[in-house]
Amino acid sequence: METLISWAIDVALVLLVVSLAWRALASTDLFKAIVLFIAFGLVLTLVWVRLNATDVALAEAAIGAGVTGALLLAAYAKLRATSPDAIVDRAGGISGIGAISLLILILLVAAALGYAVWTLPSDYAGLGKEVAANLDQSGVSNPVTAVLLNFRGYDTLLEIMVLLLALLGAWSLGITIPRPEAAPGLVLDTLSRLLVPLLILVAAYLLWVGAHAPGGAFQAGAVLAAAGVLMLLSGRELPAALATWPLRLALVLGPATFLMLAVITLILEGRVLKLSPEWAGRLILIIETTATISIGVTLTALFMGAPPGEEDR
């Protein structure tokens, strides 16, 4: 009975996730596509839980179902403001013979992928044992955090750089669409006054708990970004005094600290980001704290689009 229900849950989840993706990509209404995509992220969070990837579920809940959704909705609104014509998705990129041969080609690709996945060795051990054996050297007891910040720290360093680069790219394009907004009103104002401190608190909690349980800098950074986005949405713009160098400082704080540590470890230990076991715990906490701040500010800035103070240019 238990296994039957368990299987039914998995089958229902997969059917739901695939049909949500399919409907999101096939519907003619773009707004519907975005809402379905948000629902897709929501269900995907449950899929990660079923696969025992709780860290991933946390990241998906914060980023996939949260920040990405807000970004897409804001972009949709800007698209409509720029050109009402542009939100209509006219069908017919490809039609007739082309569409059919493309469909056949995609089905062949799907069959090949399915076969490749099917024939993957099932007795593959992975790196779980190696990580577990070296976990006490890493300074943290959550294996995913150990991989992200210690064993493969260079991946994470580059990832934070990618985030910063994306923001620089977005800023250099200078998209500015003025949008008059109503005053937030008492209800929204009260909500943001209650939720913003709670979001910051939860971000700090996730950052702290990441050392020994699911959590960490990315999840915390995304929750922090949600606080920033909520403040922007309830009409609280960044004060002009903070929009100049303090904002830039917050953006590079994480990458700069991480990079500095990479250089120091290269000189002292002879290898990039080789953390000595007695210092690793503290160093990871420092990197994660600065990274959380930078990730939160970067994602909020990406939501804003243009650098603050230049909207009216």
């Binding site: 209800v187 929204l188 009260t190 909500l191 209650l194 939720l195 709670l198």
Partner: protein, 99 residues
């Protein structure tokens, strides 16, 4: 099973029924305002009963507190978001359904 287990099971099942009722209302009600009404039943009562049922099972006060926090958060968010959506719908020019 003890008495609290039976109580918990009853609460959880009732909570599930409220989710069903909410979903059913979402499908059957005629306009966005009445559907908001259905939504908040699932949001507030369905999740509330689920949280109550689970709180009887957990052994630590901290976990029960976290469950309560999540429910309070859902209450706050549900009330606010429903208000904002209803207000926005009125501005969109949607008139409330009349029999």
């Amino acid at each position: 099973m003890t008495t609290s287990d039976y109580l918990s099971a009853a609460l959880l099942t009732t909570g599930g029924l409220f989710f069903l009722a909410g979903t059913f209302g979402l499908l059957r009600f005629p306009d966005v305002f009445t559907r908001l009404h259905a939504l908040t039943k699932a949001d507030n009562v369905g999740l509330g009963l689920t949280v109550a049922g689970l709180a009887l099972q957990v052994d630590s006060w901290a976990v029960a507190g976290k469950l309560l926090l999540i429910w309070l958060l859902a209450l706050l968010a549900g009330a606010t978001v429903s208000y904002l959506i209803a207000q926005g719908a009125l501005r969109l020019g949607i008139r409330p359904w009349k029999r």
